[in-house]
């Protein structure tokens, strides 16, 4: 909602320009290394060549407004561009289709200057009208975009979402190369939202030409063009020779072979038939691969924006008692669980994963202390423990992890029976207030949509998510923290990013005092590649381009 006061302030606001230099300062403030965006092309990179990548599941759609899968997420990033993006292999924001941007001091108006001469794959130049069209489209209920909610802070969103308007009132095309966004509240995550796939720019004429089949005939501004799509078999990308980012992409062609079981993909990689198994190393083969020096050398390990946790339903006895929840936190032997999954993770003590801004390195969390856990249970009036249920997904390794948790709980007197169910059933139980006392989140755990601490709060720990069908399976709702979260997210000024991250650290610290979760581990990513693949390691565990950054990798065996 836009107040009169806001409108007055908009007129006399002092705008300031965020240049690449300022962005680097921001990155330094956040304690990250920074590369100058424009020159981020690897000087050793070789031009040309083709690679093959495999996936188990079919590619559903390549429409950026709709695609939300493991396999199509990064493909869409290579076909389309947004106003913002991240430096390759990092979580550092930088302008992409935008050349620069300005944020009004009240944090409610964002103005982007667009790059000149950016062309869609059909040859037409991309302008501010396309940006506006794309966002009107993604928020239109008829598009059925799973990401529509990300744009909730743009003025006029509610009317479009309700079908009362066709166009977002808060977006103004100032001139073909300038676009202005007015928000209903200051939103520190807005630049991330402008980098997410759902905000990527599509050409109106192509969308109208193909209608609902646009996802099968994607036309964007990205580094690659779709060359072939044989349903259920393969998707082929070829280099976009007119890509605005000079020197990219390095590869001439990428072939995605669909329908390959991970174990078969690994065999083919060992034979040199493929370059990257998109679904990773199958767990059953992990130790074998890591024990072989030749194969291990081609594995890249990295963090990911993921936390695996146990939720405790704070509205159900005895988990309505904070001491019981703290006792559970102390009862879990996280190191043992990490060993159980062949050390493919690191133990966690807080909701945020280590690679996320706002992660508190100093935070110690709850130690593994059986005696103390028993004492807490006794204090809570359960000296002999109690009976409860632990829900978990029924695919490996989750039942094994649930059993380890069950044993740990038994050691302090809590007798948990395991409900091992299909993913959808566990999700349904979690979204039902009386559904599940405890859930092991494995296989369904939260993976952030963008690298910002707020992304781990709202839907999974905030009051907004504690609704039937929501993802806040602890049903934890702390109004005070909700207010604090809103406050943190209104700090839009990039110079205060450090302050904002600190506020988020405090919020998560408070959450851990209330202990609605027992964080267990942060999964690591292990990407395997063929010997001919080149480029920095972080391109293969890119936190945003999952699983790998197609635009920046290259092959070493081309002339």
């Amino acid at each position: 909602m836009k107040t009169k006061k806001t409108r007055e302030r908009e007129h006399d606001m002092r705008k300031y320009l965020i240049s690449t230099v300022a962005a680097s300062v921001l990155a330094l403030v956040l304690g990250m290394t920074s590369v100058r965006a424009e020159d981020a092309v690897d000087p050793n990179a070789k031009q040309g060549g083709a690679i093959t990548i495999t996936y188990k599941d079919d590619v559903a759609t390549l429409d950026p407004a709709i695609g939300y899968d493991w396999q199509n997420w990064s493909m869409i990033k290579s076909l389309f561009d947004g106003l913002m993006d991240y430096e390759p292999g990092t979580t550092n924001l930088r302008p992409d289709l935008a050349e620069s941007y300005e944020i009004a001091p009240d944090g409610k108006t964002f103005t982007f200057k667009l790059r000149h001469g950016v062309k869609f794959h059909n040859g037409r130049e991309m302008t501010a009208d396309d940006v506006k069209y794309s966002l009107d489209r993604v928020t239109n209920p008829k598009t059925q975009s799973p990401g529509a909610g990300f744009f909730g802070s743009i003025k006029g969103y509610d009317d479009v979402a309700a079908g009362k308007a066709e166009s977002l009132a808060g977006i103004t095309v100032v001139d073909p190369y300038t676009i202005k966004f007015e928000l209903t509240r200051p939103d520190a995550t807005f630049l991330h939202v402008m980098a997410i796939n759902f905000s990527h720019v599509v050409p109106k004429e192509e969308v109208e030409k193909y209608g609902t089949d646009f996802g099968k005939h994607p036309v964007g501004t990205g580094a690659f063009k779709l060359a072939e799509w044989t349903l259920g078999q393969r998707v082929v990308f070829e280099r976009n020779p007119d890509y605005w980012h000079k020197g990219l992409p390095h590869l001439d062609k990428i072939t995605f072979e669909i329908g390959q079981e991970p174990i078969v993909a690994l065999l083919r990689l060992q034979k040199g038939e493929i370059d990257v198994p998109g679904d990773g190393i199958p767990p059953a083969k992990f130790q074998e691969v890591m024990a072989d020096p030749e194969q291990k050398a081609r594995v890249v390990e990295g963090g990911q924006l993921h936390t695996g946790y146990i939720t405790m339903n704070t509205t159900m006895a005895p988990f309505d008692n904070v001491k019981v929840r703290q006792a559970v936190n102390m009862a879990i032997n996280k190191d043992r669980i990490v060993q159980l999954i062949n050390n493919r993770a690191v133990p966690a003590n807080q909701p945020l994963p280590p690679s996320m801004p706002g992660y508190d390195k100093e935070f110690k969390g709850y130690p593994y202390d059986v005696a103390k856990a028993k004492a807490l249970l006794a204090e809570a009036g359960h000296p002999g423990g109690f009976d409860t249920q632990l829900f978990a997904m029924n695919t490996d390794p989750n039942p094994r992890i649930a059993q380890a948790i069950q044993q740990d709980l038994a050691a302090v007197g809590i007798k948990a029976s395991i409900q091992s169910l299909a993913q959808a059933n566990v999700i349904a139980a979690g979204g039902d207030k009386a559904g599940a006392p405890m859930i092991w989140s494995g296989g369904m755990a939260w993976i952030a949509d963008f690298p910002d601490p707020s992304n781990f709060y709202g839907p999974i720990l905030g009051c907004a998510g504690a609704v039937p069908g929501g993802w806040n399976w602890s049903w934890y709702c702390n109004k005070e923290l909700d207010t604090k979260a809103a406050e943190a997210d209104s700090i839009v000024d990039p110079a205060k990013a450090g302050e904002r991250a600190k506020m988020w650290s405090e919020i998560y610290g408070k959450i851990m005092e209330d202990a609605p979760w027992a964080p267990v581990f942060n999964e690591q990513r292990f990407t395997m590649k063929s010997a001919r693949m080149g480029g920095a390691d972080n391109l293969y565990v890119d936190p945003v381009h999952i699983p790998i950054n197609y635009d920046n990798v290259y092959v070493t065996d081309v002339q």
Binding site: D57, D58, A60, T61, D63, I66, Y68, P141, K142, Q144, S145, P146, G147, A148, G149, F150, G152, A161, T212, D213, G215, K216, T230, L231, G232, Q233, E257, I258, G259, Q260, E261, I263, V264, L267, R268, Q270, K271, E273, A422, Q423, A424, N425, I427, A428, W446, D449, P459, V467, G469, G470, W471
Partner: protein
């Protein structure tokens, strides 16, 4: 004959209707919410409800089923929730691969199965017979997932004779056909053996033997044609077993058929695809049975249609 066919066609239509109702009801009763699957974890409740409304999933069961049935009658299997394509298009694009695999699998099981059964029958009671029957038992009971991976490992990875999964040339077809065929071959071997033993006991075979005909002439010219007929008639019924097998085998070998489509759709609760593949499979099974029963009297005059 015509009355029989008419009755069978009506029965088949009723069976298909029943299959559609049961599948639809089961999918409706799933505790999982397909809309949540479509919307992903970041969707707001409004987005979820909006998608539910547009897909008509907020309607009562009877209304949903009626809509499905009426569009089905006009040949429309609906639109996939996740893939966002016409289900008919998805199935049609994958049908040739499954049919090819079916031909390959049937060829494998018939050739292997009949040969094994024939030898076992002729060598009845010997060690050869027993070991063949043990082998057929293993073939019938070995999980196809294991057989498939084993064949892949030995013939593709170790020996390099065939490609490691995929689709395109005849070389790609061999291992998946063999995996499917080993299961069927076990059944055919057992059937062939008992059918052959029956025939070899017949008086005319004894007469032929008494005439001093060569053993090979008796087996191949006199006994085999009669023994093989009831076995061949089983191929139509075999389609049911085949439809179950392709889900596993196509996934192991990355074979782009409707089995793989079904498997992926089940994992993502893509109801229109699950419905579509189920109905197409049911149709194939019903058709196979109908054909088998209709053709049987032509092959074996002892059978009469009534």
């Amino acid at each position: 004959m015509i009355a029989y066919l008419g009755r069978r066609v009506v029965q088949s239509v009723l069976i298909l209707l029943g299959v559609s109702l049961i599948t639809f009801a089961l999918l409706y009763l799933l505790p999982a919410d397909p809309v949540r699957q479509i919307a992903g974890h970041s969707a707001t409740p409004e987005t979820v409800e909006n998608i539910r409304r547009q897909l008509g999933l907020d309607q009562p069961f009877v209304v949903q089923y009626w809509h499905y049935l009426t569009s089905l009658l006009s040949g429309d299997l609906g639109r996939s929730y996740i893939q966002r394509s016409e289900v008919t298009e998805l199935i049609v694009s994958r049908l040739p691969a499954s049919l090819l695999l079916m031909v390959g699998a049937i060829a494998c099981e018939v050739v292997i199965g009949l040969t094994m059964g024939l030898i076992a029958a002729v060598k009845r009671g010997t060690a050869t017979d027993q070991s063949l029957m043990v082998a057929s038992f293993v073939g019938v009971s070995a999980p196809q997932f294991v057989v498939g991976l084993l064949l892949l490992y030995v013939f593709a990875v170790r020996l390099g004779w065939f490609p490691i999964g995929g689709y395109g040339t005849w070389r790609h077809l061999v291992l998946p056909s063999l995996t499917m065929g080993i299961l069927g071959a076990g059944w055919y071997a057992r059937m062939m053996r008992s059918s052959m033993i029956d025939v070899l006991r017949q008086d005319y075979v004894r007469t032929a033997r008494a005439k001093g005909l060569a053993r090979s002439a008796i087996i191949f010219r006199h006994a085999l044609p009669n023994a093989i007929l009831p076995v061949i008639a089983m191929i139509g019924i075999d389609i049911g077993i085949f439809m179950g097998g392709i889900v596993v085998v196509e996934s192991v070998f990355g074979w782009p058929g409707i089995g793989q489509l079904a498997w992926q759709a089940i994992q993502r609760i893509d109801i229109p695809i699950i419905m579509g593949v189920t109905l197409v499979s049911a149709f194939a099974i019903v058709l196979g049975n109908l054909l088998a029963d209709t053709v049987a009297p032509f092959i074996d005059p002892r059978i009469k249609l009534r």
